[in-house]
Symmetry: C2
Subunit: 207 residues, 2 copies
């Protein structure tokens, strides 16, 4: 997989995936760049550029074969295989993510929950909340692909480093800081406050 | 406020805001475009372009005055005034957002919680969960700037339309659909599954 896809296109890949899936579910076999552009809120020429960048194939006069293009993106995103996640920090946000059905549908499976407090486990009998002290022994026994960080900001960077030491290389961080790790780690920081501020901007400055 | 700021710059504004605030907290009075660029992960020339676009002012040889630039962005983002929010759908995610301290620090205050189930209110005595039937009477009595939608996808679009009818013009949606409303409504859709897929891509394709 030596192709280089520019970051703005990578960011759009999941959206392409979603719209192609919806199109497939409607039973549509081909989709034109113009139609895909309308769904995506882009121009047709931009869509053709994007698809070129991630090397999807279309047919002159037919458009893109929906299922084929969807599968191509699925493979690029790595969502055709099972990926094991652990959630570190089991507050409301951690629990909400645990129960988010869409993740499991895409092969993302939570296999462990960790917290540093003694938790009442009654709410989730299938997957007990483990003491963070068990982290090292757990990651020795189980393959963990992704760590979800839903703990207070002040503890997040140190925890990310500890998880990195355990061999984990993908981090989905919800604390309002940018987690810094060596270059071979993939980090996506979800800054909810920035998303809310963007909404506030749009409310104040209607198009 | 008739200036037009391109969307990619709008998306970066909250990040500029965050870094300027951190810089201010360290007691630094001026910041160069090069230094700001390093924090933002951009080039210095890109930073200068961005600041031009949102009409921030710098001084030749000094750089940007940190507090002034921060306040300018604060004003653009509309986070210097109080904004009232309601949360519709009080599951784990709704509760997590209610307890997110950073929102209140930026003037975003949750004044109402709504759900269609009879809820156990013991967990939050200050702000009772109201029956969704009370929505219209509540919005007549209180100014609501922003509605947070944390309900099942299947109910989200209809609820957004109902809230729009109540006069609300800003929507922060967490269901995995794109809420469609008339053009005078501001909508930010947070697609958590797409964020996770982007992480999966980066894990599979290290830089």
């Amino acid at each position: 997989m030596a192709i280089y896809i520019p970051d703005p296109v990578v960011k759009r890949l999941p959206m392409y995936y979603r719209y192609l899936k919806e199109t497939e579910n409607r039973g549509q076999v081909y989709i034109s760049s113009a139609e895909l552009a309308q769904l995506m809120g882009l121009t047709a020429s931009q869509v053709r550029q994007d698809v070129n960048a991630f090397q999807g194939e279309g047919r002159q006069g037919c458009g893109y074969p929906v299922t084929e293009l969807k599968k191509h993106i699925e493979k690029l995103l790595g969502i055709c295989r099972q990926q094991n996640m652990i959630i570190v920090g089991v507050g409301n946000l951690g629990r909400a993510l645990l129960r988010h059905k869409e993740f499991a549908e895409r092969g993302f499976t939570t296999i462990g929950l960790f917290d540093n407090r003694t938790c009442n486990n009654a709410w989730n009998k299938n997957l007990p909340v483990r003491d963070i002290a068990e982290l090292e022994s757990f990651t020795e026994k189980h393959r963990v692909d992704i760590a979800i960080l839903t703990l207070p900001a002040v503890n997040t960077q140190a925890m990310a480093e500890r998880l990195y030491q355990c061999g984990i290389r993908a981090f989905w961080n919800f604390a309002p800081i940018d987690v810094q790790l060596p270059k071979d780690a993939a980090v996506v920081n979800v800054h909810l406050d920035e998303s809310l501020e963007r909404l506030s901007y749009r409310l104040k400055h209607p198009e």
